[in-house]
Structures are given as structure tokens and as C-alpha cells.
């Protein structure tokens, strides 16, 4: 009897394998290369093909694990815990609101658009999809961990928050630093100074305003932050498209003089 978990992972295996072959054929693979893991010909884009094949292999392993442990059902849990089946904690099926369907859809759509637009967009979609897959899976696990929704929520928070907060913080800071650096590099020297001063002042005043009003609704704070971050990212993208300002190297071309690293910008 095949378990539900096995069917899920096996389905993912088939989907990932098919996607890998599809990517192979659309990125320069030969007739037999993508089907033979590169043994008989080229597989096309190695990175995309490799990632998808890894996903297929991992799904296959998880399918075998799921089948082996019978999806951790009550009887299997009782056997592992060496207790009577009545002593196994009850699991309540709970399905509430969730952001992960939307984020998963965003990941899938970004990947699909990336197929047409640019490999970078495809990769971004793949990352979104992987992250949401982990989050969605953990959410589902935690909702069935015990019969108490509060306890389940705490379990999930305790497990995921120590990972989510540092990772999201790093990613957020990275994106903002890159975006702000693009803006400052695109502006003139004097303009960059002014931008840094004005943006810093706005951030300081906004933080001061929020700190003086502790009763301000959460939605308003979220909205202000979202608008600010969006403005920085969009400005960063436009600045990156426009390119950096002209830099005139002191002493001519690089490498001609010992002080080639010195440069003067305008």
C-alpha cells in the first residue's frame, strides 16, 4: 500500500525530473543528453539541470523514507515509541489561513517568467520556491504535531524563527545595501552626500515618530516600512540600469602607474 507521503514525494520526483529534461532541451541539450544525465550528450544549462535533478533525487529519497516509515502514522509512531497506540498523542488536522500558497505561486510564476526573460529571474523563482517549500512543509508538520493549536504554533515558532530571522535579516540588509550603493554610485559626489543625509534623516525621524506613538496600528508601521523598502529597491534598480557615474582614474589607465588604484570621480 503506497502512503500519501510517498505519492507526494514521488509526484515531486516526476515533476522535477520532467522539468530538468525540459530545461535541458530548451537550453541547448542534445537529443539524448538530458535523458541520460549527460552520459550521451550535452544536458544544456548545467546549473539549472543539476539543481532540478538534485531536487528529483532528494524527492526520491524522501519518498522511500515516507514509505518506509508509513508517513509516521499512529501505528508506526506507536511501534517506534514502543508504546500502546492509545498513548500516541492525538493529531488534529488543522487548516487555517496561510501566506505560503501565494508565495509558492509567486515562485512558480517567477520561474516561468524567468524561462522567457533571464536565468537570473528563473533562479530567483527557484529560491522563492525552495524557501516556501520548506516553510509550507514545516507549517503543515507543526499543525499536526499535537492537538493544541497554541502548542503547535509555539513549536513552529521555536523551530523556524531562529533560522528565519537571521536569514531574512541578512537577505534584507544585503538587498538594501546593494540598492543604496547603486543609488549612491549613480548620483554625483555632492548628490550622493545629499541623498545619504536626507535618507538618514527620514529614517531617523520616522523611527522617532513611531517610537513616540506606541499605540500606532501594526498595519500602519508595516505599510510605512513596505513603502520605504520598496522605494529604495525600485530606486536601486533604476540606478543600476542607469549605471555608475563616470570615474576618472588619477594617472591614466589602470596598471600604467603604481598608484593605479587611486581614482577621482565627478
Amino acid at each position: 500500500m503506497l502512503t500519501t507521503g510517498f505519492k507526494l514525494w514521488f509526484g515531486l520526483l516526476v515533476a522535477a525530473f520532467t522539468a530538468a529534461v525540459f530545461v535541458g532541451y530548451t537550453t541547448g541539450g542534445t537529443e539524448t543528453g538530458p535523458l541520460t544525465l549527460g552520459w550521451k550528450g550535452a544536458v544544456g544549462n548545467h546549473i539549472a539541470y543539476g539543481i532540478l535533478m538534485m531536487a528529483a533525487t532528494t524527492s526520491g529519497l524522501l519518498a522511500i523514507l515516507s514509505q518506509s516509515f508509513r508517513d509516521a502514522d499512529a501505528e508506526a509512531a506507536a511501534e517506534i515509541l514502543e508504546v500502546d497506540i492509545d498513548e500516541v498523542p492525538e493529531a488534529q488536522i488543522f487548516t487555517g489561513s496561510s501566506p505560503w500558497p501565494l508565495f509558492t505561486a509567486l515562485g512558480v510564476v517567477t520561474m516561468a517568467v524567468g524561462l522567457v526573460a533571464h536565468p537570473f529571474v528563473f533562479g530567483t523563482g527557484l529560491i522563492i520556491l525552495l524557501v516556501t517549500a520548506i516553510e509550507w512543509t514545516m507549517t503543515n508538520w507543526s499543525e499536526r504535531a499535537t492537538g493544541d493549536p497554541e502548542k503547535n504554533h509555539e513549536l513552529k515558532e521555536g523551530l523556524l524563527r531562529p533560522i528565519e530571522i537571521p536569514v531574512l535579516g541578512l537577505v534584507g540588509m544585503g538587498v538594501l545595501v546593494v540598492a543604496v550603493s547603486r543609488i549612491l554610485l549613480a548620483a554625483s559626489v555632492l548628490g550622493a552626500v545629499w541623498i545619504a543625509t536626507v535618507v538618514g534623516t527620514i529614517i531617523f525621524l520616522t523611527a522617532y515618530f513611531i517610537s513616540k506613538r506606541p499605540s500606532i496600528p501594526r498595519g500602519v508601521v508595516q505599510g510605512i516600512l513596505a513603502v520605504g523598502v520598496l522605494a529604495v529597491i525600485v530606486s536601486g534598480i533604476f540606478a543600476a540600469i542607469n549605471g555608475e557615474r563616470d570615474f576618472h582614474h588619477v594617472g591614466g589607465e589602470h596598471g600604467e602607474h603604481g598608484d593605479s588604484d587611486m581614482e577621482e570621480d565627478h
Binding site: 530548451t26 487555517g96 501565494l102 505561486a105 516561468a112 517568467v113 524561462l115 522567457v116 497554541e150 498595519g219
Partner: protein, 503 residues
């Protein structure tokens, strides 16, 4: 747990079936508007094809002509049906919610993004390519990706609804005891899942041809529409509107207080579903071969059998019971009856246009049949909104406004279909580009007159859609609470209340 989520969080994280149903239906109405505008522009251009009025080239006409059909099926009719099923089916089978609520939410979002990509693809001179290959390849690829995404969304949502019917029924409700609408969704959804993956395969084939290298070229990149067109014409379009049979059966049964025999009705719906399977009708591979044409004609004739059965099922038990008609149900009953009338006309036109000697298989008659059939589906959804509206939006429904929208739409479809059916006999092609006009028709004043009538039909269709959107918005903003079960219907959806979900 205390619910502290903001409005935006609630909108984007909901997995509740009625809310998702509203999302589907409102988005589908906007898709219907896009499709109707595209159809209107093509009709306007056809009035005088000797010179360009709206579009500069035949390729431009082709873009909007195909946009009209693709949007009508993938962005309007199918999501309307899924939206209805998402809200009504769980209640009808006694399930507290959809079996896979999060997959349903995921399906909606994927479909929505896919629909937007399709529209962008068409507006960016992509679409499904053009006969003279003047379209942007990148934009065509983008449109194909949009088509794939919408199909993923539709298949996911269908799977969730079907699983709810099969595995989520309350104890004691057998499959043969479920309401007619749920049965029609079961048949339709099964057939959608059987045929849409074929469309996926067609789309992937074209995409690989466009984007791949020489070793994997199947030669279909120049004939994109030929690869995909089977899904937007008969007999496949009968499948897209199949749930209308369930909608009509339920409304008519309650209006006359006379239940239609389930085995009889269910058999007829099943047969119609089987006859509507159109994935074999691949014009790219088979057009012109005797086997294909004979099979095609047989199917078209066969589909008349369940159609006749349905007429018998709907009308015969009612003739003796006309006095029992509940006048309160006038709006849904009228719209439901008109939708089945449109469908039957569509079936008849479909049967006529495959008669070999008439040579109508590529004429405007095809367009008449498509608009009649898909128009029947839209009208049935309007009837369903009139019938189940209080359950869908939780507010009181103004039946008069829905009736006006529905009648405007119905007359638009009727006028358009009559004109296109007749002009097909003059030799006007289904797709008539600017440069093809002289060769495709006799150019007589009859043709011009019929094309003007056809344009008036398109205009009425658009007005009906706009009126339906305005009515929906007005109802959503209304503060008049729902009255409960206004019809005294005895199906389970009126008696069950969906569990409130904990955010």
C-alpha cells in the same frame, strides 16, 4: 488564538472557500470584459474589411481574434465555473470546507498571475503568433507561459473540488445522491483534468520549438494557433460549460418544485461530458484526413443524443406542472432556461457546420457556435449568481438588475450568433483578416449588413458584461444582509453553514 491580521494579510492568506470563490469570479468577470472588448474590436473591423479601420494589418486582427477566444475560455468561462464550484460544492456535499484549501488558494494565485501574463503577452504583440510571423517571439513565449500557468491553476482548483466531492462527502451521501450541480462539476472536472494536460503538452511542444535548439525541433513554432485551437472550438467547448447543466437542473427543479430524476439527468450529463472530449481533434496533425472528418461528424451527431435527453429531462416533467411555477424564482429560472436554449442552439449549429457539402467548417459559422456555447456558460453563471448570490456574497441580491444584465447579454449572443451563422453561408471565413476579405467573401451588401448586425451583437454582449460587473460591485458594497434561503430550495448548501476558519 487572537486574530491580529491586517486586511491585506487576510486577503492574501485566505484559504476559505467562499472568499476564494469571490476572487475567482470577480477576476473572471474582468477577464470576460477583456475578451468582450477584443471581440468587439474584431467585429468592428469586419464591418468594412476592404480597408483598415481599427487595425493596420491582418496580423493585428488575428492577435485580437485569438485573444478573444483564449481569454473567453481560460480567463473567463472556466474560472467562473470553478469559482461557483469552489463555494457551492463543499456545502452541497456536506463538507465543512474544500479538502485541499491551501492548494485551492495556490491554484487561484497561479491562475491569476497566468491570466495577467496572457493579457500582457497579447498586448505586447505576442499572443499565439501571427500568420505572417510579425509577432514578437519573446512575447509569444510569454503568452505560452501564461497559458501553462492558467492551466496549472485550473487543474489544481479542479482537483481540490473533485476530491471534495469524492472523498469529502458527509456520511450517508452517496455519489448518486449529490445535487445535480455537484455531479455536473464532477463530470466536467474529470474531463478537464483529462484534456487540459493535452493542451499543456501542445503548449510545451510549441515552446520547445520556439526556444530550443535544432535537435529538438518539431516544426510547430510557426503554427501555434493550429496546435492550440482544438481547446477553443467544438467539441471541447461543450466540456468548458458542462456545469451549466447542473445549474439549470437545480434552478428549474426548485422553480417548479419538481425534482428531475437523478439517474436520467446524471446519465445525460455524463454522456455530454464524454461526447465533449475534444483532445483528439488536433487540427495540426489530422485536419483534412477522411478518418478525422468522419470521426468528427459522428461525434457532432452523437452529442445531439444527450442534448435531446436533456431537453426531455428539463421540459417534459414541467409541462403538466406550469401552474406550480414559483414566480419568485423568475430571474434565475428565465436566465437558466435561456442558457440551455443557447446551448442547444450551439449544439445544432455545431452539427450543421460539419455537414460536408455545406463547406462551413472554416466559416463564420464556427464563431457563431463558439459564442453560443460559451455564452450559454456565462449566462448560466449569471443565473447561478442570481440563485446562490446570497451564499456567495452574504448580501441580499437585486434580482431585477441581474435579469437586465442577463437579458442584455443573451440578446447580444443571439444577435451575434444569427448574423455570424448566416454570413458563414456567404463564404466569410471564421478568421477574416483585412487582406483576406476580398478572397474570403463575395463582398456583397448582405455580408456588410450581417457584419453590422454581428457588431451590434458584440456591443450588447459587452454592455451585458459591464452591467454584470456593475451589479456585482453594487451587491458587494451593499449593506443589506442576506435573507437566508429565499427560494425554499431543499439542497444541502442552503442548510449548512461553513465552519469559520481560524486565522
Amino acid at each position: 488564538m487572537k486574530n491580529e491580521s491586517t486586511v491585506v494579510e487576510r486577503i492574501v492568506t485566505t484559504t476559505e472557500s467562499v472568499t476564494l470563490s469571490r476572487y475567482w469570479m470577480v477576476s473572471a468577470l474582468i477577464g470576460l470584459l477583456f475578451s468582450s472588448v477584443a471581440g468587439l474590436l474584431v467585429s468592428l473591423e469586419r464591418i468594412d474589411l476592404s480597408s483598415a479601420s481599427i487595425f493596420s494589418t491582418a496580423d493585428d486582427v488575428f492577435q485580437f481574434w485569438t485573444a478573444h477566444r483564449v481569454a473567453l475560455v481560460l480567463i473567463a468561462v472556466l474560472p467562473l465555473m470553478i469559482g461557483l464550484a469552489t463555494a457551492i460544492v463543499p456545502r452541497q456535499v456536506g463538507s465543512s470546507r474544500l479538502v485541499f484549501p491551501r492548494m485551492s488558494a495556490f491554484s487561484f494565485w497561479v491562475w491569476l498571475f497566468g491570466a495577467l501574463i496572457i493579457i500582457i503577452g497579447f498586448l505586447a504583440n505576442g499572443g499565439v503568433g501571427t500568420p505572417d510571423a510579425t509577432s514578437e517571439t519573446q512575447s509569444v513565449a510569454l503568452t505560452l507561459v501564461g497559458v501553462l500557468l492558467t492551466i496549472i491553476g485550473i487543474c489544481g482548483a479542479s482537483t481540490s473540488v473533485l476530491t471534495t466531492i469524492v472523498a469529502g462527502r458527509a456520511p450517508g451521501i452517496s455519489l448518486l445522491n449529490i445535487p445535480a450541480f455537484s455531479w455536473s462539476v464532477l463530470v466536467a472536472g474529470t474531463m478537464w483534468l483529462a484534456t487540459l494536460p493535452v493542451l499543456v503538452a501542445n503548449t510545451v511542444l510549441v515552446y520547445v520549438d520556439m526556444r530550443g535548439r535544432a535537435p529538438v525541433n518539431f516544426g510547430s513554432e510557426a503554427v501555434v494557433w493550429e496546435q492550440l485551437s482544438w481547446a477553443f472550438t467544438h467539441p471541447q467547448i461543450y466540456l468548458w460549460v458542462l456545469p451549466l447543466l447542473g445549474i439549470v437542473a437545480e434552478i428549474i427543479s426548485a422553480a417548479f418544485k419538481n425534482k428531475i430524476s437523478n439517474p436520467f439527468l446524471f446519465t445525460a450529463i455524463g454522456l455530454t461530458g464524454a461526447a465533449g472530449f475534444g483532445a483528439y481533434a488536433q487540427t495540426y496533425f489530422d485536419i483534412g484526413t477522411p478518418v478525422f472528418e468522419e470521426a468528427f461528424s459522428i461525434i457532432q451527431a452523437f452529442i445531439a443524443i444527450p442534448a435531446v435527453l436533456l431537453v426531455v429531462a428539463f421540459i417534459s416533467p414541467k409541462i403538466k406542472d406550469l401552474k406550480g411555477f414559483d414566480k419568485q424564482t423568475t430571474t434565475p429560472a428565465v436566465l437558466a432556461t435561456l442558457s440551455i436554449v443557447l446551448l442547444l442552439h450551439g449544439v445544432v449549429v455545431g452539427a450543421v457546420h460539419v455537414i460536408g457539402p455545406l463547406e462551413l467548417s472554416t466559416r463564420s459559422t464556427v464563431s457563431a457556435q463558439i459564442v453560443l456555447t460559451l455564452g450559454a456558460g456565462v449566462l448560466a453563471c449569471m443565473a447561478a449568481f442570481s440563485w446562490w448570490g446570497e451564499l456567495l456574497i452574504g448580501k441580499s441580491i437585486s434580482q431585477r438588475k441581474i435579469l437586465i444584465s442577463g437579458l442584455t447579454f443573451h440578446f447580444g449572443v443571439g444577435i451575434f450568433a444569427v448574423a455570424d451563422f448566416l454570413v458563414g453561408f456567404t463564404g466569410q471565413n471564421d478568421f477574416t483578416g483585412v487582406s483576406e476579405f476580398a478572397a474570403g467573401t463575395d463582398g456583397s451588401s448582405w455580408v456588410e449588413t450581417l457584419n453590422i448586425i454581428s457588431f451590434i451583437g458584440s456591443l450588447l454582449i459587452l454592455l451585458g458584461v459591464i452591467a454584470a460587473i456593475a451589479t456585482t460591485v453594487q451587491h458587494v458594497l451593499s449593506k443589506t444582509p442576506a435573507t437566508g434561503n429565499p427560494w425554499g430550495a431543499d439542497t444541502l448548501e442552503w442548510k449548512s453553514k461553513e465552519k469559520e476558519e481560524v486565522a
